[in-house]
Every structure is written in structure tokens, then in C-alpha cells.
Amino acid sequence: MSGESVLEVKNLRTSFFTDDGEVAAVDDIDFYINKGEILGVVGESGCGKSVTSLSIMGLVPSPPGKIVGGEILYKGEDLTKASEKRMRQIRGNDITMIFQEPMTSLNPLFTIGNQIMETIRLHNKWNKQQVKERAIEILQMVGLPRAEELLNEYPHQLSGGMRQRVMIAMAMVCNPQLLIADEPTTALDVTIQAQILKLMKKLNHDYQTAIMMITHDLGVVAEVCQRVVVMYAGKVVEEGDIATIYKSPKHPYTVGLIKSVPDMRKKVDRLYSIPGNVPKPGSIKEGCRFAARCEHAFDRCFTETPELYQTGEGQKVRCFLYEQQGGVSK
């Protein structure tokens, strides 16, 4: 698996140092992304999925945030130790990112062309004409009509869906190895969401760009991803390929999460719901993070943190219930 993986995260810990002490937003997580695959990262607010992506990009606001442990290996190179100069080469060229809010991630004072061409110029030594041609080409590639005119337009002149396409164009312009998409369709309408997801699948298919898709929507994951990592309160609680996870989820949290989503295709009288509230980051210090909301919890869950146990082909679960079935994965 490490042979073909484009990114490997090992024992990553990212903490925020506040007046109330250290808050571990991401607490010892491991996962990998293979070349050309779409990996889903699912979790609720505060589970650390966005902090994970910012850690990979080296964009954790510091202070108060800091990567306090672990490795992020991009093709064998540890990004946590890379210099700021090296990170600047990697960002936008090898690893790129798109965000939830296409409104706020484009600069309203510069034209679309200006912003796209800036990225190209930073990473290539091309002349003006080549840069412009590439910009037009990339806008056409993401399915935007009248690409040449768009170069001279400002973000406010575009709709939300078009802005997200521009963001994807900017992210794809240097043929990155990995595209991190942090809730790329959450702010969009469903019909526009379908178009953007379709575009991302197409780009993944055509250019073999690996995509890390961070989302809270299990429907989106089922539609585009091949593998999924489920996070809860700063920990990976389950990992596996989507067919297995959706068909036989193992961790009580994953089970509950899948059951609580209303499926449009059938009517149920009463939805399953996980009792309790989503914990605040860093509020649970010991034991399984999910124990307080778990119907299967026993004494040990509150005092000891379970490992990720291998339960089957490519499926890992952080739960004592599966300790006997598999043995420790690490």
C-alpha cells in the first residue's frame, strides 16, 4: 500500500494551545491516499477533518495551532519538517485545496484571469501568451463557457457553481498529484452539486489526480469515493472501502451515522438517532471518544482508548468489540 500511495499520514497530532490548555483537534490519526483514488473523510463538526487537511497543507494557523507529532509523507517526504519555501512549491503545484465557500476564497478585487494566471506564473517559467493559453484551456476543462471573456470578469459576476468551477480550475492548473476538497459542494444547490461532483469525478478519471473529499454528507461519499475514513472527535474510528463500510459498518458511531440519514428512496416512520451531543474538540481526554453516546459501551471503554483493529479486507475499526476478531493493525 505504501508503494503506490501519494500521501501517508502517520500518528498525526495537531493541537491548539488556548488559555484553557492544549486542545487536541487531531489526535493520533493514520491514513493514506493511493494514487488516483478518491478518498472520503467523513465526520461531524469539530471532529478534526478540516484541521487534518490544513495540517497537510501546512496552513494550520500558528499560533494557536501546531502540529505536535507524527508525519505527513508526500511521496516519502515529510511535510511536517519541510521548510516554508518548500511548502510554497508544493502548495498549488503538487497538493492543492478547494474550500467550502467559493465566495470567500476568491479575491473580489482581482479578475478571474489575474487569479488563475498568478498560480500558473508562480509554478512555471512561461511567457505571457503561454500562461494565458493555459488559463483558457483550464477554464474550458472545468466546463466553463466563454473562457476568454471570463478571464476579465470579477468573482461577483459569477454564480456560486461557476465560482466553485473557477476554484477547481485554479486547483487543477498545475496538474496536482492530490486535490484536497473541503466540503466543496456544501454551499451549493443539489443540481449544481451534482454537476460539480460529476466534474470532479471526470478530472479524477482523466488526469489520475487523487482527491481527498472532506464532507459530512454520506450521499456524496457514496456517489464519488472509493474508500472512506470516518472521524469522530479527532480520531479515525473506521476506515475501509465504501461498499464494505455502507453494507457492514462496524463501529457503533458509523452504524448510527448511516442509520440516521434519511434515504430519499424509502419512507421510514422513525429515524434512528444517536443519543447525546457532538462533543467539543478536546473535551474527552481518556477512553473511547464515543463511549458516552454508545449503546454497547462497557467499563473498559471509559478508561482505555481502543486501537484500530483490522476486521476484514481493508476495514479497520477503533472499537473493543472487534478486538478478538482481528488483532492490532499496527
Binding site: 443539489v190 453494507k247 448511516i258 440516521s260 434519511p262 429515524l271 451531543n277
Partner: protein, 314 residues
């Protein structure tokens, strides 16, 4: 049981578009352009549509929080638009609203007790002791405890705040509740808790809901009937089952096709075909050619009992 509690006929809201240095009116923005429907007592009418389709404006017009430009709104056989402001305020006791953002809709400077008590004071219901009793009772009903009454909104999580918003709407014993995207700001595991709560409350207090949302899965789960809005008009209105199993309007069909299904198997068949032919799955292709013919004015036509569609094609 099938007595309509609310009848809405041809309601319109045009916002003026102004221009020039004098700010003269140069046109109309037709936010809601002739919407008609009724809601029966004890049922849930879901209203779905994408952003800007006029679903929230419609919800607000029912309470006259936005004054309609045209049309009639009959609540309990009273024409709400004909009522003077003072009378309207009294009617609002029976029609309450739950808002989307539980962070913005609760006053951060008031304790939960004060927030919940306020509707009672406004409508002059009960003395102080009765009001306090009702507050603690209502907190229990929505799954909180009277212990929470002295706290401030910021001390609660999103789901708990939405419970407070629901409790506030229930304080005056309303008949009709308009819920505008009540669960879309909540996490998945909390969303289902709140949906179940809304269903339980409906049974307990014989409530009628108008449930405005963009999430089609949620709407199917909670609604008896569903209306689909597009560009200020209602394009299809029918029983939830009919809408989801046999959508007739092309917009409804596309809206349903665009919703991601939380089941990988649903996509697998498509995936196989894609690999074989080297093309992309057909489910991703959206035909929006009909969307350009929005100048077409079609009224809702009953094509099957209780199934209304606004489209010349059908």
C-alpha cells in the same frame, strides 16, 4: 381531519428593482409569482426548492413578516391580508415559526427562561407563576430540563439551541408551525434527533407543519404532501409518495436525480457501464434545456387525484 387550516391563493411578492441616481423603480424581482396551496389540519406540507426559488419568502408571507404584493391567505377562514396590524399580531399566537439558524434566532443576552417567556408576555397569557411553570414544562417536552432555564444560548450546542427554538414556537399553543430549514444547520446525528422530536410533538399537540427545506431526503421523511418550487412558482404538488415515486415535472425529476443516495450499490451499476464504455455515468448528466423556457406561464393542473403539475408537456 381533512379540513384545510390554511388556504393560500395566487400569492405574489414582487420586490422592486431600483436604478438610476434617483433610485426609481425600473422593474420587478418576482420572488414569488402566484403560488397557491392549502394545508390540512394535522398534516405536514413540505416545500422544497433550491436557493432563490421563493420558498422562504412564501413562508414569511404566511405570517405577514413580508407583506404579499397580491393574493389571499385564509387561516381558519379568516383573510389574513385584510386584518389590521393589531389583529394580525393576535393571529400570530396560532401561527409560529422555527428558523434555520439556531445561533442567530435566539437573543444572546437573554436567558432561556426569558426567551421562552416572552411570547407569553406579548400575548398576555397567564400570570408570572403560570408562565414559569409553562417554561419548565416546555423544556421537558423538547428534551431539556428546567435546570437549563437560567442559562444563556451560547452555553448550548446547535441541536440544543434548535430545541429551544422549537420550545419557543410551542409556548403559545399554536395550531400551525412554519419551520424554515429547521435542521439544515445541524450535524447528521443531531438532525435525526430533531426530526424525531418534531414528529413526536406533532402527535402530542395535534400540530400542522409547513416544512420548508432543500434536503429532499429530510422532506420525504417528515412530509405528508410535498410542493416543489422553482423560480417563484410551484411546479408540482402531490402526496410525498407520489412526488418521490412518480415525479412528473421535469424539474422535480432532475432535482430528485441530483440527490446523492447514501448507498454505494446504487452507483455501482452505473460505474460498471462507465468503465465498459469509457464514458461517465448517465446519472450525472443533467438536462436543463427546459429551464430556459421560464417565460412559459403554466398553472397547476390536476393530472391525477391530488397530484398537481405545472407543465405543458404533461
Amino acid at each position: 381531519m381533512t379540513k384545510p387550516i390554511l388556504q393560500v391563493e395566487n400569492v405574489k411578492k414582487y420586490f422592486p428593482i431600483t436604478g438610476g441616481i434617483l433610485g426609481k423603480k425600473i422593474g420587478d424581482m418576482k420572488a414569488v409569482d402566484g403560488v397557491s396551496f392549502h394545508v390540512n389540519e394535522g398534516e405536514t406540507l413540505g416545500i422544497v426548492g433550491e436557493s432563490g426559488c421563493g420558498k422562504s419568502t412564501t413562508g414569511r408571507m404566511l405570517l405577514r413578516l413580508i407583506e404579499p404584493t397580491e393574493g389571499t391567505i385564509l387561516f381558519d377562514n379568516r383573510d389574513l391580508r385584510a386584518l389590521p396590524k393589531k389583529e394580525m399580531r393576535k393571529v400570530r399566537r396560532h401561527i409560529q415559526m422555527i428558523f434555520q439558524d439556531p445561533y442567530a434566532s435566539l437573543n444572546p443576552r437573554h436567558t432561556v427562561e426569558k426567551i421562552l417567556e416572552e411570547p407569553l408576555i406579548v400575548h398576555g397569557i397567564g400570570n408570572e407563576a403560570e408562565r414559569k411553570k409553562k417554561v419548565s414544562d416546555m423544556l421537558e417536552v423538547v428534551g431539556l430540563t428546567s435546570y437549563h432555564a437560567r442559562r444563556y444560548p451560547h452555553q448550548f450546542s446547535g441541536g440544543q439551541r434548535q430545541r429551544i427554538g422549537i420550545a419557543r414556537a410551542l409556548m403559545t399553543n399554536p395550531k400551525l408551525i412554519i419551520a424554515d430549514e429547521p435542521v439544515s444547520a445541524l450535524d447528521v446525528s443531531i438532525q435525526s434527533q430533531v426530526l424525531n422530536l418534531l414528529k413526536d410533538l406533532q402527535k402530542e399537540f395535534q400540530l400542522t407543519y409547513i416544512f420548508i427545506a432543500h434536503d429532499l431526503g429530510v422532506v420525504r421523511h417528515i412530509s405528508d404532501r410535498v410542493g416543489v418550487m422553482y423560480k417563484g412558482r410551484m411546479v408540482e404538488l402531490a402526496d410525498a409518495e407520489k412526488i418521490y415515486q412518480n415525479p412528473l415535472h421535469p424539474y422535480t425529476q432532475q432535482l430528485l436525480a441530483a440527490v446523492p443516495i447514501p448507498d454505494p450499490e446504487y452507483y455501482q451499476a452505473d460505474e460498471q457501464a462507465a468503465i465498459q464504455f469509457g464514458t461517465l455515468p448517465s446519472k450525472y448528466v443533467i438536462d436543463d434545456s427546459w429551464m430556459n423556457i421560464d417565460s412559459e406561464r403554466d398553472d397547476l393542473i390536476e393530472v391525477a387525484p391530488g397530484h398537481f403539475v405545472a407543465c405543458r408537456l404533461k
